[in-house]
Structure formats: structure tokens, C-alpha cells
Symmetry: C2
Subunit: 415 residues, 2 copies
Amino acid sequence: MAFIVHKYGGTSMGSTDRIKNVAARVAKWHDAGHRIVVVPSAMSGETNRLIALAKEIMPQPDPRELDMIASTGEQVSVGLLSMALQARGKDAVSYTGWQVGIKTDSAFTKARIQSIDDKRVQADLDAGKIVIITGFQGIDDHGNITTLGRGGSDTSAVAIAAALKADECLIYTDVDGIYTTDPRVVDEARRLSKITFEEMLELASLGSKVLQTRSVEFAGNYRVPTRVLSSLTDPLMPLDEEAKSGTLISFEEESNMEQAVISGIAFQRDEAKITVLGVPDKPGVAFHILGPIADANIEVDMIIQNVSVDGKTDFTFTVSRNEYQRAVAVLEANKEALGFSRLVGDGKVSKVSAVGVGMRSHVGVASQMFRTLSEEGINIMMISTSEIKISVLIDEKYMELAVRALHKAFALEQA
Amino acid sequence: MAFIVHKYGGTSMGSTDRIKNVAARVAKWHDAGHRIVVVPSAMSGETNRLIALAKEIMPQPDPRELDMIASTGEQVSVGLLSMALQARGKDAVSYTGWQVGIKTDSAFTKARIQSIDDKRVQADLDAGKIVIITGFQGIDDHGNITTLGRGGSDTSAVAIAAALKADECLIYTDVDGIYTTDPRVVDEARRLSKITFEEMLELASLGSKVLQTRSVEFAGNYRVPTRVLSSLTDPLMPLDEEAKSGTLISFEEESNMEQAVISGIAFQRDEAKITVLGVPDKPGVAFHILGPIADANIEVDMIIQNVSVDGKTDFTFTVSRNEYQRAVAVLEANKEALGFSRLVGDGKVSKVSAVGVGMRSHVGVASQMFRTLSEEGINIMMISTSEIKISVLIDEKYMELAVRALHKAFALEQA
């Protein structure tokens, strides 16, 4: 007998028929003798519908009131799923975040979980019940309803699994796991049966948008074994088979032993780069350039500053492509204060990254990567590295070619 | 400066444009310096949509889970109305029932309010805020969400007005007040500017379905002056005019002084009567006949038992017409146990009632009523009386004639 938290996304909860399918799957796990807590998302489209209503009233809705409204989607889901389990003869009970003490800070629409009081849930589990808890939401110190931001149900599920000391958190989604790269780009892309949470963190933030980054951080901090698996399989497939499917985000030290050097190739197609030429090289230059960009709520990704020549330097950074024009406008508006000579930019660049904890103990990964790209005639515009990741910025038109070449060079098609 | 509770029904909250209209009206009251609490219903159709979803999952949904789902409609409404007020520059804040301590018993889907903790609301009002509270719902001793049953938002508004010691509760609805009778039946029907709560109670339960009966009971018990008025008027009409519109349900003793003998003629068209003939006249006969009817969830209205002849008696009662066949079937199924000789019934009867507190101090109301019906050639099948009401059961085809004749006989067209 194990203690398992299940999380189901909005698509899995998208209709009453699909909710009945979720109930069949959950019941199967309960029948096998496991303690089960389920965290479902709002029915697909529901949160968008609620936010659209709010925006009809007020284009920039008050965040506290927005959370009051947006949190109802999950409340409906837990009630419906509880009923669907009861209709199968299961003893199920649903709770909102505030009913089981999911305490957050007061950062409405993007609150962070601070603590979870597990007494009520453990008592229900002891009594043999299946417990359904709303994802995406909690309550602050003043009794206000808060939400965790889009995708927050993943984070709720992992946080609940951590607080309740569950053995595993299963995130059911519409993909069947984490791949070495996007199968739409590389035919030989292979599903990883295991990945470390650090690798997952790099992959998630680099665009393999399977799990919300914050939920991976949570899983890492609290060492919650978390598995990403498909909700599109037959709900009645054998449990032992289902339990091994998908990709496990692992925290076991020994998992590094047999670790491949590189686990996956991630990419972000829609990047843009901006170079600020001839900036006076004095303390604070990065802050002075990026301050106005941050004030305009534009997220900056890679940043490079060249060595100084004659007291002047060049400063290059990348932004998401749809923020490109706006970022340029912000800099032009501050041209006098910044004292640069001119701007050059490129709106058609892409980022490709090789990720793997094995990199730590293997030299030569970077040179292998650069050689592979060179052999394909691909010019590297920018390079950025971390302990377990090397990212390069290249011309957009070479992106697929680069991903395929790197996937092959690191032999990722082999298990 | 007064302390006013406003209640708006689902139709008034039916779209974002209508919600903006409600906000304009509420803001007008706040601008005039009043302390304002608003209790809105769910957007029209929303509660039905949620219940339909639940029934797709489970035809007889678990009441606790149903309340979890059904309560979300009002939660969305309070958030949207709060935003609409903020969009007008007002400081507004929304609360769910549990956030402001609306404690109920645990009778899910038909809970009763036990207490309201007003600290948080009074503090907000002291700070000049407009407070919006969900109708229809509360929280039980175990932290479960409860709902008060359909129409419960009226009751919530009156209960909140009572707990907060408001000066008046304004129920905005799609009619402009309480009439001496249905204007669709009698052209001369006149809107009452004032009515006592006892009269309102009789009128509400007799079919003038303007206010939920329980809300009137609450208003009576806690002596909350409650006004029914139209939400279809221009939201920006002069406040002093609006404040006097509609019908005030009054609790002032002196209001009896100038009270008319009869305030209104109520009627219920769709009645049916059943007579059980030749029942052995022994203790418990009423219980034995009506027990199975109650077990089948059929509501009984008028009840008459004839004097006994030769140890046998006849027992007559009325039910809503759409329960007629089912009630007959229930009795036939119990024929042996009940020992009656046969059933006779009539599925085409209507009830007409004259209501008025003035009746208490005026003799001759009943004889005036019977004479009027007699002059019109209308046969009376059953009579039932209370302190402030006389009801008669008549052939359905005479219903409009009886209502018009009585309206005229009691001079209700004159103010």
C-alpha cells in the first residue's frame, strides 16, 4: 500500500464523460489498496471564461476579486469528481484549499503556498475515503481566497504530496512523459523513463512545457518523487503497467550512476536579440540598460557583455520575439540617458540547449556541441552555460537542423 | 445617513452589462452617504447549469458535493459586482458566506442560517467600503459549504440586514412591488405601498411569488423593514424617488391604524382535491392517510375532515395539480391498510384567498366573501381560515371571476 497524489489537468476534466473516466482510473488505484488524494484542475476553458467575464467588467481587474472568481472553476471540478467516485460506490469527499488549510501569501493571482494543515485529510484517508482537493488556490492570513497563477494545479498537487508525505505524485497530462527532445522535430526522440529534478527544471524553463516550473522547484525542495504520465490511456489499463509509465522525476543520488551525459535537447524558437553598441563602460551599465526593460515587464533571457574597448562596451540580450519591438522602443526612448551609439537587433533567432546532470563530471560536452554545429555550418551568435546546461543562440532557419544534429551527436535515441 | 442592504436577483445580474447597471445604482446610494451592503444572486441560468452538470455525473447527487458546486455561482457574482464598482472608482470588497461567518446547520441544499459574525463587515463599512456578500450560502460547524436552497439569496439578504442591524433591506426584483392581486387577472389591481409582514407571509405562500417565504419569516422574526422594488428602472433615477418606490413590508404597530380590512386577493390556480370516503373514524386517521403522501414527498395544502357518521368519516385534502395522479396512486396502493371505501377527486380546482390583518378586528369579512361568491353563482368546495386569511376552493373555471368580484367587493382598487 502506498500513498499517492493524482493530478489531472483541465483537458482530462473537460466534460462529464471525461470526469467519469478520471473517476474510473482513481477508483482502480483505490481498489488496489492505496491511499489516494486527487487534485483536479478546472474544466478546460472554464478559467478563461471566468477571466473573460471579469475583463468585460474591468480590463485590469482587481487581483483579489479576480481570485474570488477564478477559484470557482476548481471548486466545481472537485465536487463533480467526488460525485463521479460516489456514483461508482466509492466514499469520496471534496475540499477547497481553505477547507484543508492551504495557506499562501497575499500575492493575489500568483500566490505562493506557505503551509498545509493535513489533519482533516489524514483523518479522511484513515477512514478509507478518497480525498479531492482544489488545485490552484489557497487562503491568506486574512481569510482571502488566493490563486497560484496559471498552471498552479501542478504546484498544488506537488505541495500537497509534500505536506502529506505522499510516496509519489502522479501528474496526468496529455503527453506521455518527458522526451529527449520534441518528437515533432526529431523522429528518433525517445521518452525518458527517469530524469533528475535539476534537468527537469532546465527543460521546463527552456520550453518543454510539460510541468509548470514552480511545481518542479517544489518537488525538488521537498524531494517529492513526481511522475508525468498520460491521461489518454485506457483508465482500466493494468495498474502495475500504469505505475511504471511516463517519466519519473527522481531525487535518488544513485540515479546519477548510470546517467547519460546529456538527457535532452531543448529549444526555444521565438527569440529575438538586441545589441546596444557603444555604451560607456562604467559600473551599473547592465542595471541602467535592463532597468527600463524590466519596468516595462519584458522578460530578458540570455545576457552577454563584451570586454571593453576604449572605455566603450557592447551589451547584448535576448527577449521573447513578441516583445522585440517594444524592447527596442523602450531603449530608444532612453537613448540619451544610456549614452549608447546605436542599436542592432535580430528578430529571427532561436535558442538550442543541451541539458544533463552528467555534464558536471564530463569534460568536453561544450566542445562536442560546438563541433557538431560547426560541422553543419551553423554559426553561433551567443553562448550561455550553467552547471547542467549549454545554450546557444542561432539563426532561426537552422533550429531544426541543430536539434537533430545534437540529438544524434549525443546518441539520445539510445536508451 | 442610513445603513441599507441591497439584494439583486439573477436576472439583474444576468450579463456584464446588467452588472454594470447594478453597480451604477449601488454607487448612487453610496454617493448619497449611506452604508451599503449588497447581496447578489448568481447570474441567471448559472445555478441551473451547475446542477445540470452534477446530474450528468449522478442523477441524485450527494447534497454536500452539490452545495460545493452550486455555491460557486454567487461567488462569481460578488467578484464581478465588486469589480464593476471599482471600475466606477468605488472602494468595494467581496466576501463569500464563510468569509464573514454566515453559520448554518448542516442540512445541505436547504440549510438554515444560525448566526452571522459582523465584525469584518462593520470594519469595512466604517472604512467607507461597499461590501458585497454571496447570497444563498454559508458554512456549517465542520467547515463545509452549505446552501440555503433556491431563492435563498432573499433570505441571506434579510438575515444579513438583521445581523448587521441595517435600517432597511431593499429587494430589487423584476416586479415593482406587491399588488392587491395579479394585474394580469384584474385590471384595477393596485400596488400596495405598505403591507404587514404577516400579510406578506400569507401572500407569499399563496402564490404571489415575489419573495421567498423563509425570507419573510426572517424579516418578521427580526423586524427588518424590507422593501420590494424594481430593478428595471433607470439606475440613475432620483434616489429619494427610488427610496419610496415598491412595497414596504412593515413592522410598525401604528401601521394597523389606517389599515384596510383586506390587503389583497391571492390565488393558486393549479390545485387538485382528493376525498377519501368511508374511512374508519379512529385516532390517527389523518396521520395514516397523509403519512404515505408525505413519504412520497407530495406537499399537502388544505385539509378537511368531516364529522363522523356511523363510525366512518370522509377526509379531503388538496395537492398541487401535477402531483394529483401520484397522490391517488399512493392512496390506492395503501387501500387495504387504510380501510377506505373509495376515492373521489377533482383535478380542476383553484384556491382563492382574501388576506388582511384588518380582518382580526372586523367581523363580517367571511360573510362578505361568501355572499360575493354566491352572487356570482360560484360554488364553494372547501373553506379554510386563519387569523388574517380566508381561503376557498372553487371550480377552476370560475377563478378569474371570483378574484375580480372579490377585488371589487373589498374596494381594493381604492388606495
